[in-house]
Amino acid sequence: MDIQSRNREGVTVLEPRGKITIGSGDVALRKAINEALDAGATQIVLNMKSTKRLDSSGIAELVASRSAAESRGAEIKLSNLPRKVENVLNITQIFSIFEILDDEDAAVASFGG
């Protein structure tokens, strides 16, 4: 799993490509979020359109990332959820602890420039 990173209007967009699962994708996500926070990012969008699978370890990293961001005055929003990822986030009610936008443009714009 690799994670594409880009900056749009001061918002850091991270796009994980592949599986966010135990032992690989989850570690990569943690590293990417921490690097973004270390670089001073305060507005982060996780564009998940290319996320192929999310297991409980992936969910754990999302939750931990949210807490890490919050502790540093940053916010993470999610966008472009594939149906099966959205389904898992709904069942676990993780959707209730993130702002989730339909697409990346809306997520970037939601930070208000």
Partner: protein, 150 residues
């Protein structure tokens, strides 16, 4: 036409990367049993969670400890059994991951997903931890074949 009886066995080391083998095999067996779409996705994720629990918690990531997986399908039900060498746990004592006080806790959703995505999930603890999950095939059948013990 419902699938005929089939059984596959796989033993992996307690390494995270080998969980992908269980995942791939589960997907193949589920497709053989005519599961598709959301049912396939959910059930294969449940199997992944069981294997991950066995590797991480049951065997404590000691790579030399095996995780044994048996997948059996007959005309009525898919049964998947995952065995590790751990000391077990009390599934009834697991916190509810949907409770408001637990939503921000990173861990604790693996067994929950297994129970949500499979029709039956049972635990047995001697020897090791054995989780048995069952998913009923959608199509009714008059086949009198009964599930044998794996």
């Amino acid at each position: 036409m419902p699938p005929v009886h089939a059984e596959v066995r796989l033993t992996i080391h307690s390494r995270y990367e080998e969980i992908d083998l269980v995942d791939a095999l589960a997907e193949a067996v589920l497709k053989y049993a005519k599961f598709s779409g959301e049912d396939l996705e959910h059930a294969s994720l449940a199997v992944r969670e069981a294997a991950a629990n066995a590797v991480e918690h049951g065997n404590g990531q000691h790579s030399e400890k095996p995780v044994e997986v048996v997948m059996r399908v007959n005309a009525r039900v898919l049964t998947i059994r995952v065995r590790d060498q751990g000391d077990g746990f009390d599934p009834l004592a697991l916190p509810d991951p949907l409770a408001p006080e637990n939503l921000l806790k990173p861990k604790g959703r693996g067994v929950f997903l297994m129970q949500r995505f499979m029709d039956e999930v049972d635990f047995d603890f001697a020897p090791g931890t054995v989780v048995t999950m069952r998913k009923h095939l959608a199509a009714p059948t008059t086949d009198k074949q009964t599930e044998e013990e794996v």
